[in-house]
Symmetry: C2
Subunit: 335 residues, 2 copies
DNA sequence: ACCAATGGTGAAATCGATTACATGATCCTA
DNA sequence: TAGGATCATGTAATCGATTTCACCATTGGT
C-alpha cells in the first residue's frame, strides 16, 4: 500500500506538497497539482487513516448506541443518523448494548480513547463515563440523546412532544366513546414512558376518566404487549380500548385480543406508538402515533455536528412534529 | 487527556514499560507493574487509539454493509455480527448502502484507507474495490459475504441452503393439495433469489406442477409483496397458495389477499421466508422458512476473524441449518 | 533599481503509541 | 569465581500523515 512518501518521490515534490494538494489544493500551483494527482492516481494512493487521525485528533466517526438494533423503531432512527453522518463525512460505529450497562460504558469509553469524535445514545440511561464527561465539559461534551428527552441529563436531544402525542391518542379514544381504557407503557425508568403517561393522565382528566384508566407496564417488546394485554383483558369490566406505547406491543396486544375472542376494532380499539413500517399492514391497519424516526436520527446527528464544530454553547432540545395516523384499529365504543 | 508519557513520568519508568504493563504484563516485575497501574488509575489514562492503530496497523474495526438496516432480517443479522465482533474485541462500522453502488464503494474504500480491518457485506453485489482486492489477495482478502452465497465471487460466506429450504416450503404446499402456486421472488440479480427459485422449480417438478407455477418478481419489501400478490390474485385461475421470498413481502401479500376478499388460510395459503420476529404475530401466524439470522451474523464474523488471523487459505462457505415453521397461514387446498 | 509583498515549496517537528535492540543486574553452573 | 543465561528495563526508531516556519523566486510599486 503506497504512502505519501511514495507519492512525493514519484511526483518529485515533498510530502508537504502532496498533503497540500489533497487537503488545500488552492495553495498549490496548477502544474505541481497535476503532477501530484497523476502520481496519486498511478499509485492508487489513499491517505492512511490512522496517521491522519493521530495528527489531527479527529476520527470522523460517531458512536450510536441502541438498546436493540433489531427493534424497527431504533433501526429507523439509526438509518437516519447514518445518512446524515455519511453526508457530513462521518461514519457510524454501531453499539448494540442489549440493555446492558456494561456495554454502554464500553462504548462510552470509545470517546475517551479518541476512537470516536462524538456519541449519540438512543436509550435513556446515561453511562457514568459520559456523565463525568458532561460534568467536566458541560454542553461542549460531544454527546447527544437520540430520542428520549431528559432535561436533567444536561444533554442535547431530539424528540417529539411525547406528552402531547399520547394525549392526542387518548383524546381520539375518548372521542369515540371509550371510557375504560387500558394503557400499556414502557419501562417507567424511561422518560418517554413517563412523559407519555403524563399525557395520558392529562387527557383522562379532561374527560373525567381518571378512575377508569387501567395501567400496565411493558417493556416495548411484542411479548410484553401480549402478556400485559392478556392481563388487562381478563376478568370483568375490561377496557374497550388499549393504548400501547409501541407498535410492537400493539402487535402483541392484537394477538392477545384475538386469543381472548375480542375482535378489533368492533370489540376493542387499539392504538400504537411509533408508526413502524408494518403498522399499516396489520389487520386491521394500526392506528398509531407517527414519529419521524429517520428525522430523529438526522436531527440528533445535526446537533452533534454543531457541538463538534464548536457552534453550541448550551444543551439544546429539538422537538419534531408527530401526527396521529388514524387507521382501522380504532372505532366507536360499543355500548 | 493524559498520554503514555505522563504515565511514564509519574511512575518513574520509560514509556516502553508502561506499554508493556498494558499489553504484556507478564514480562514486567510485580513492583513496577503496581507502580504503573497506580499512575494509570490516578491519571485516568487510556491509550490513544489512533496512535496505537498507526503503529500496529490494526484498527479493531470491521465494516458491515447492508442494503437497508431498517429491514428486520438485516438488522437481526447485524445484531449477531455486532455481538460476535464485540466479543472478539472488534467494533462494527455500520454501512447502510440504501442499495446504492456508490455508497457500497465508499464503504469498501475504508479497507484501503486502513480505516477497518475487514468487511462483511450483506447485499449480493461485490463492489469493484473489493473485487480488485480479492483479485490481488485471493482468499486472504478480509472480505466475507453475510447471507447471499455466490460461489463465483471467491468470497467466504455464511448462509442457509436456500434451494432446499424453498423446496421444503413448496413441498408443504403441494402436500396440502395446492396445485396452482404463486411465487414472489426477490430481485433475480440476487443469488439467493435464484437459489430459492431453483428449489421451487425442483419441487414443482417432483410434483408434476411445472406448468402451474406463477412467478412474480418482487424486491423483498412489503410494498412489492402487496403489488405482486395483487397481480397474481387478479383474473381467473388464480393460485390457491403464495410463497414469498421474504416475510415482509408475505405481509404485503396478506394485505392484498384481504383486499381481494381472500381469507387466509381458508381461501389462500401463505408462506414467507426469514421468520422475522413479527411473523408469528400476524393473523394468521405466518408459516415461514426460519433462518438463524443472528447466527448468520456471528458466523460471518467468525469467518472474517479467521481470515484476519491468517487461519484461512481458501474461501469457505458455511451452511447453517434452517427449518420450516408451520403456523396458521397454511392449510389444505379447497377443492 | 531597490524594497516589500506575494506565492509556491521544502525541511523538520509533531501526534502517541509499540517494539527491536541494547544494557545492566542477578543468578546459576562448572 | 568466571562465564553465560535470564530477567527487567531503557533508548530510540518507527508507523504515515499534517503543519509551522523558513526560504527562494517572482511581481509590482515608487
Amino acid at each position: 500500500m503506497p504512502t505519501i512518501q511514495d507519492v512525493a518521490r514519484r511526483a518529485r515534490v515533498s510530502t508537504a506538497t502532496v498533503s497540500r494538494v489533497l487537503s488545500t489544493p488552492g495553495v498549490v500551483s496548477e502544474a505541481t497539482r497535476e503532477r501530484v494527482m497523476a502520481a496519486v492516481d498511478a499509485l492508487g494512493y489513499e491517505p492512511n487513516y490512522a496517521a491522519k487521525s493521530l495528527r489531527t485528533l479527529r476520527t470522523a466517526k460517531i458512536v450510536v448506541t441502541v438498546p436493540d438494533i433489531s427493534n424497527p423503531f431504533f433501526s429507523s432512527v439509526i438509518r437516519g443518523a447514518e445518512e446524515a453522518a455519511q453526508a457530513a463525512g462521518y461514519s457510524v460505529l454501531l453499539g448494540d448494548t442489549r440493555h446492558s450497562t456494561e456495554r454502554e460504558e464500553q462504548y462510552a469509553g470509545m470517546l475517551r480513547r479518541k476512537e470516536a469524535d462524538g456519541l449519540i445514545f438512543l436509550g435513556h440511561r446515561l453511562p457514568n463515563t459520559l456523565a463525568e464527561l458532561i460534568g467536566r465539559q458541560g454542553a461542549r461534551a460531544p454527546v447527544v440523546n437520540g430520542c428520549e428527552f431528559s432535561p436533567d441529563l444536561g444533554v442535547s436531544s431530539a424528540h417529539i412532544d411525547n406528552a402531547a402525542a399520547a394525549a392526542e391518542a387518548m383524546d381520539l379514544l375518548y372521542g369515540l366513546g371509550h371510557r375504560i381504557i387500558g394503557v400499556i407503557t414502557g419501562p417507567l425508568a424511561s422518560p418517554i414512558s413517563r412523559d407519555r403517561l403524563e399525557g395520558v393522565r392529562a387527557s383522562a382528566g379532561r374527560h373525567g376518566a381518571e378512575t377508569t384508566l387501567r395501567i400496565a407496564t411493558g417493556d416495548f417488546s411484542v411479548e410484553s404487549g401480549e402478556r400485559e394485554a392478556q392481563g388487562l383483558l381478563a376478568g370483568g369490566d375490561t377496557p374497550t380500548a388499549l393504548f400501547c406505547f409501541s407498535d410492537e406491543m400493539a402487535m402483541g396486544a392484537l394477538a392477545a385480543a384475538r386469543r381472548a375472542g375480542r375482535r378489533c376494532p368492533d370489540d376493542l380499539s387499539l392504538v400504537g406508538f411509533d408508526d413502524i413500517r408494518f403498522a399499516r399492514y396489520l389487520d386491521p391497519a394500526l392506528t398509531t402515533v407517527s414519529q419521524p424516526m429517520e428525522e430523529l436520527g438526522r436531527t440528533a446527528v445535526a446537533l452533534l455536528l454543531d457541538i463538534l464544530a464548536g457552534r453550541q454553547t448550551a444543551a439544546r432540545s429539538v422537538t419534531l412534529p408527530h401526527h396521529l395516523a388514524v387507521r382501522g384499529s380504532t372505532g366507536p365504543a360499543r355500548r
